[in-house]
Symmetry: C2
Subunit: 154 residues, 2 copies
Amino acid sequence: MLQLTKRTEYGLIALVHIAERGAAGCEFVSAREICDRYPIPRRLVAEVLKALQRCEIVESQRGPTGGYALARSPESITLGQIVTALEGAPPLTSCESPILLKSGGCEVHSVCPIRSPVHRVREQLWGLLEHTSLRSLLPPATQAHYAPRAAHAR
Amino acid sequence: MLQLTKRTEYGLIALVHIAERGAAGCEFVSAREICDRYPIPRRLVAEVLKALQRCEIVESQRGPTGGYALARSPESITLGQIVTALEGAPPLTSCESPILLKSGGCEVHSVCPIRSPVHRVREQLWGLLEHTSLRSLLPPATQAHYAPRAAHAR
DNA sequence: TCCAAATAGCACCAAAATGGTGCGCTTAGA
DNA sequence: TCTAAGCGCACCATTTTGGTGCTATTTGGA
Ligand code: SF4
Ligand code: SF4
C-alpha cells in the first residue's frame, strides 16, 4: 500500500513537537511530554525516537532532565531520511528492496517488463521525499524561528 | 509501507502485455497467455483484471476466443488510475483513507500537527502518479505504435 | 547517598493486510 | 454440445503492523 506506517506518523509528530519546543528554548524533550500532548502510546514514541537516533536525526539524553533533541537543523532533515530510518528506503516494488530479497527474490525478475519503467517512478518519488524538509512540515510560526539558521544549515 | 502491492505489479505487467499484444493486432488477450509468458498465478491475474475492468480500464470477453483488451488508449490510462483501481487512492496517512475510517478514525486527528503538511506531500505524490501514463511504461517499440493514436486519445 | 525519572533493550502478542487457492457457475465460439 | 475462456465467492497461511511487559541502565537532584 502507498501509505506511511503509523510508526512513521508518530515519528513525524514527535519530530515536529521537538522542533517546536526546541524553538521555544527547550533543550531536551521527554517522550512523556510528547504523549502528554498527543494521544499516542509512549512506548512506541520511544521506539521510534530510538530508531531516529540511530540514524543521527535526533540526540538522546538519559536521566531525569533527559529526553530527545534534534541532532541537526530542521532544514537539513528530509522526509526521505525520516521514512528511510523508520521503514527503510521506499522500494515501490519488491525487487527494489534489498531487505525483501531474502525470500529468493522475485520469480518474474528476469522477464519483468515493468521493472525499469517503475524504477523511474520510484526515483521521482524519492526525489519528492528528499526535497521535503522537516522545516517545511513545521507550522509557519516555528518555521520563522528556524529561518535565520537556514544559512548555516545548508 | 511505501510499496506497491504484488497485485498492482501483476496488474501493471498484465496491462503492459495486453498493450503490446494489442499493438501486434491481437484483439483479446487471455489470462492463460499472460501467465504463459510470466510466472505469475493465473487466478490472481484474473482477479486483478476483473478489478481493472470494473474501473473501465480493460474490457473483457468471455468464451473460447475471449480475454482482455484495453478499454482506452494507453495514453489516457494513468498509473494513478491503475493504483486506485487495485488498492484504492493512495492515502499516505491513515486519516486520508476514507475506507480506513471504519475503526473510529484517528485519535490524534483533532490535534494532529502533521495532517496538513503531509497532505501537501500526498498531493504531489498523486500528481506524480497521475502524470505517468501506461504508454510511458511500455517499451519504446510499442510506444511508437501508439504514438499516432495520441491525438485522439487526449 | 539514594530516589525518581528518564532512555535502552529485548521478547512477546493480537489483529490486520497480503498473497494465494478451491470450486463451481456462466458465456460463447468451433 | 464440447470446451476454453471469464466470474463469483469463500477460504486459508504467512507476513506485517501496531502495541505491550518487563527489566536494565543512566543521571539530576532532594
Ligand atoms: S521483478 Fe517485476 S514483478 Fe518482480 S518485484 Fe520487481 S517489479 Fe515486481
Ligand atoms: S490525524 Fe495525524 S496521526 Fe492521525 S492518521 Fe491523520 S496524519 Fe496520521
